[in-house]
Amino acid sequence: MNPNIYVPYIAEITDIKQETGDTRTYDVRIKNRDEAKLFVSRPGQFVEASVFGAGEAPFGLTTSPKEPGVMTFTVRACGKVTNALAELKKGDEIGIKGPLGNSFLDKIDSKGKDILVIGGGIWLPPLRSMIDHIFNNRSDYREFTILYGARTPADRVYKYQLSDWEKKTDLKLIQTVDVADKDWTGNVGVVTTLFPKLKLDIPNTVVYTCGPPIMIKFVIIELLKLGLPEKQIVSTLERYMKCGVGKCGHCCIGNKYVCTDGPVFDYTEIKGLAEEAF
């Protein structure tokens, strides 16, 4: 990262994909070669992306990086910075600060374990960096299951990828929506309604989850009921962030800074904080 923690690198948008009505995926490359070399991310990390004049906001990186200085993130337009990002086109410049935060890999070593990924809505992108990592090192892991829930079929991101994943033999993807449309043949109901369909090897399963606070809350309750050890429940947390580097105070939960202690936590770190984490 840049030695001045507040200063972003100048980066270029190299591609944009429309995911849903308000959500787009951006491929981004840091322009200066020497600076690009400094940017090597790990799954779970995030960046602060700037639209100069509108400000900066945090976004989870969605791929396991193939080369330094290159990244992908998915953004839902819903406020000042995200709406400004939605106005941009291929070739436009933005600022990138990062990579920031810790990684899924900093938590429990899940090699040789069954992997269960549970994502909700727009919260699938940060998990995809870990999913990517698992695919890249598939033989290190055993059973691999992804549960993905969204409000409606149209709200799902990465639809092109989801249909690829469905065809894979070394991955079981189960999707669910709160409200179906006429073409939906899958499950209807919140993501925890999928749990009874799973045959879990409880002591040997590591769960990675990310979703809206209410989803994480119920997912964890159900996992604990099933007897999953606390260390094996790994979740990313989200808080309104300003600086991303542990100074502005916005992202604190209890004594944890989501931006620098997280965004990835295991359940032993989340429970018993002075404030509810979700």
């Binding site: 990262m1 030695p3 001045n4 923690i5 507040y6 200063v7 972003p8 100048i10 322009k31 400094l38 090597v40 991310s41 790990r42 990390q45 700037s50 100069f52 004049g53 509108a54 400000g55 900066e56 819903c78 406020g79 995200t82 410049e93 600022g95 990062g98 990579p99 920031l100 935060g101 809206p212 606070p213 989200e238 808080r239 309104y240 300003k242 600086c243 991303g244 580097v245 542990g246 100074k247 502005c248 105070g249 916005h250 604190c252 939960i253 209890g254 004594n255 800074y257 931006c259 620098t260 202690d261 002075a274 404030e275 509810e276």
Partner: protein, 361 residues
């Protein structure tokens, strides 16, 4: 430890020293009296402006080390892309006559802004993430504190180990001995300062140090705000004895003005935003912000993890008093300056709430 070198400075020499500083430094800051009678730290252009007698004023040293509004960088959008201007000249400064509590708060800021958690590759766990703006400003300033021979009516630094005299953490500490100050040097920077103006400083002696120790003991007896219950209050807080009802009671008196936080020399939270100054040029700045405001944590979805004022009040006291935080940085988040006691319209300041907390069953 080698015996501390002490000097003396006649009060009559102060105007000359300040005049010299105004020539050799870019900025001199000192406590001044405003029109309404309040004291505050401000940039001066003559020794005449320095308030001779004062309790630590509103907006102390925080105003200098962590300005309320500060540019982080500038940007310019041109035909060949965006360029950033990230280097600012940081003036050389002397901060004159701040109180020990404020100096203690700066020392805490040093560890907070100067260090911080790690992030990113190449950063090993525990490596510092220093704030470059803070560090530079701090490096280029000499801090001269004035020990308190008499505590202010709302002060309780004696309970937080941050006054009324300091034994370390300053560049220079002055003690008022009537017609002159005893000058203690607390850092190499302080030593160089005395050397630079050696014609104005006299030698100090062991008698002056004896007198200083006596004054310190006497000053410790002048506190009127009885808040020596921190340890007990903290034990109750961490022991889970302070429940939601307690915070609802505190919140019932709080009008959410954020005043306690803006005046607190230990509060460091800020907001970040951009401002355009023309079609092509603008800047990113930070500005003081507080965990007391609902918007501080409200997410774009509308979800707010700290929606109630009780939750936000709890947050403020928790951050300052909980052992969880002390593990991160081993000082409590209060230096007993008493500013929140003076400021809070609802009288639910640190002193009051600590007293209430100590009494919970």
């Amino acid at each position: 430890m080698p015996e501390k070198t002490v000097y003396s400075l006649a009060k009559a020499q102060v105007p000359e020293l300040i005049a010299k500083l105004l020539k050799s430094r870019n900025e001199v800051w000192a406590p001044v009296k405003g029109e309404g009678g309040d004291t505050f730290l401000a940039q001066i252009d003559s020794a005449k402006q320095i308030a001779p007698e004062y309790v630590n004023g509103f907006l102390g040293a925080k105003r200098y080390v962590f300005p309320q509004l500060e540019e982080l960088f500038r940007f310019k959008k041109g035909k060949n892309g965006t360029t950033l201007e990230t280097e600012f000249d940081q003036p050389r400064a002397v901060i004159w006559g701040i109180r020990p509590c404020d100096m203690s708060a700066v020392n805490y800021f040093d560890s907070f802004f100067g260090q911080g958690a790690k992030s990113g590759p190449g950063w090993k766990s525990g490596d510092p993430l220093p704030d470059p703006l803070y560090e530079k400003r701090r490096e280029r300033a000499v801090f001269i504190t004035l020990a308190c021979n008499q505590a202010g009516p709302k002060c309780f630094c004696v309970c937080t180990d941050s006054g009324p005299f300091l034994s370390k953490g300053f560049d220079i500490q002055l003690t008022d001995l009537g017609t002159y100050y005893l000058v203690e040097v607390g850092s190499p920077k302080g030593g160089e300062f005395v050397k630079e103006f050696k014609t104005l400083f006299g030698t100090g002696n062991e008698n002056d140090m004896k007198l200083r120790r006596k004054l310190e003991t006497e000053a410790e007896k002048t506190f009127q705000q009885p808040v020596s219950f921190f340890a007990k209050a903290m034990r109750k807080l961490d022991g889970g004895k302070v429940d939601q009802k307690f915070w609802e009671k505190v919140a019932g008196y709080c009008i959410g003005c954020g005043g306690c936080i803006y005046v607190c020399p230990m509060c460091s939270c800020f907001d970040v935003d951009d401002k355009m100054e023309s079609d092509t040029e603008g800047l990113r700045y930070r500005a003081w912000d507080t965990c007391d405001f609902a918007g501080f944590t409200r997410e774009v979805s509308g979800h707010n993890p700290r929606a109630s004022r009780a939750d936000r009040r709890k947050r403020w006291f928790y951050h300052k008093l909980s052992m969880d935080y002390l593990e991160k940085n081993p000082v409590i988040g209060c230096v007993g300056c008493g500013r929140c006691v003076v400021t809070c319209p609802g009288e639910v300041d640190m002193a009051t709430v600590v007293r209430w907390m100590r009494k919970v069953e």
